[in-house]
């Protein structure tokens, strides 16, 4: 069984690392070493949310979790080939809809906050164009996006867009990405949702 050491990692890195390891493990179980507190809680919540079975031991000054290889989410995707592959959300604007700006901003904000209440979360959210205004300093969505990040949703903002709005140094949640990654994700994902 593969063991991965996620000790001394700041959130959301433990969840992201575990997620990638499970995706690459092809159904095999993995053993994860974690610090107590948020890393352990977030990984347990993430794994349980995907239907994985988790068992726990105390080890080496922290915790070792053994995560059983096949989650119910994966089993469901395997049975439903149309939906195979993770769901991706493309936020291409800081507004949802073509009406008044004020309403559009409110709707997009509400949509992203409401994701926290849903059972099924997307695998990744890409922010492009004015969407990057939502992941940078001053956005009211930083708390919500951080929480999504802690639950295994990757928050990715387009580098060109950050540069255009001169906010590259103001990215406050998630990471910078590029058009190659975005295009690849759009073409290989199970579902692409553009609110």
């Amino acid at each position: 069984m593969q063991t991965i050491d996620c000790r001394n990692m700041a959130c959301p890195l433990p969840v992201v690392t575990v997620k990638r390891a499970l995706e690459g493990a092809g159904g095999e179980s993995i053993r994860v070493l974690l610090d107590d507190g948020a890393p352990r809680e977030n990984v347990i919540r993430f794994a349980a949310g995907r239907g994985y079975r988790v068992s726990e031991e105390i080890a080496d000054g922290g915790y070792a979790l053994v995560i059983d290889g096949v989650g119910s989410a994966e089993a469901e995707d395997a049975a439903n080939p149309r939906k195979s592959g993770p769901a991706v959300i493309l936020v291409a604007s800081d507004r949802l809809g073509d009406g008044p700006e004020e309403l559009g901003r409110l709707l997009m904000k509400n949509f992203l906050i409401t994701l926290l209440d849903l059972q099924k979360l997307p695998d990744r959210i890409f922010f492009v164009n004015t969407g990057v205004l939502l992941t940078t300093e001053g956005s009211e969505l930083l708390g919500a996006l951080e929480q999504l990040g802690n639950r295994g949703v990757e928050i990715l903002s387009c580098g060109v867009c950050l540069d255009y709005f001169q906010r590259k140094d103001k990215l406050s949640v998630g990471q910078v990405t590029n058009m190659f990654t975005i295009a690849d994700a759009l073409l290989t994902s199970g579902e692409v949702i553009r609110p």
Binding site: L106, N110, L116, D117
Partner: protein
């Protein structure tokens, strides 16, 4: 999005809640406008979330600008408890 002890002032008119948000922000109060949780609002209600330590200033501001909510709830554990007092605005 809502922590134990946080307060939610629920409005059922989007125009009033947007005005209230603007007014409270103009006064520098740390509030956030969020969708009202489903357990306390059937349709697309909106709520202004504020911390208990802001209560006096926020509710005073709402009263002074005549932008009162329909109801105010406080989060206790996993539940929302309706508060008496300010309310029946909209």
């Amino acid at each position: 999005m809502v922590k134990d002890g946080d307060l939610l002032a629920v409005f059922n008119s989007i125009h009033r809640v947007l005005k209230a948000e603007k007014e409270l922000k103009a006064r520098g109060l740390p509030i956030l406008l969020i969708p009202a949780p489903r357990s306390i609002s059937a349709d697309c209600g909106l709520a202004i979330r504020y911390a208990p330590e802001e209560r006096l200033l926020v509710e005073k501001a709402m009263a002074e600008s005549d932008l009162l909510p329909v109801e105010i709830y406080v989060k206790r554990g996993e539940e929302y408890v309706k508060m008496q007092g300010l309310g029946t605005g909209g």
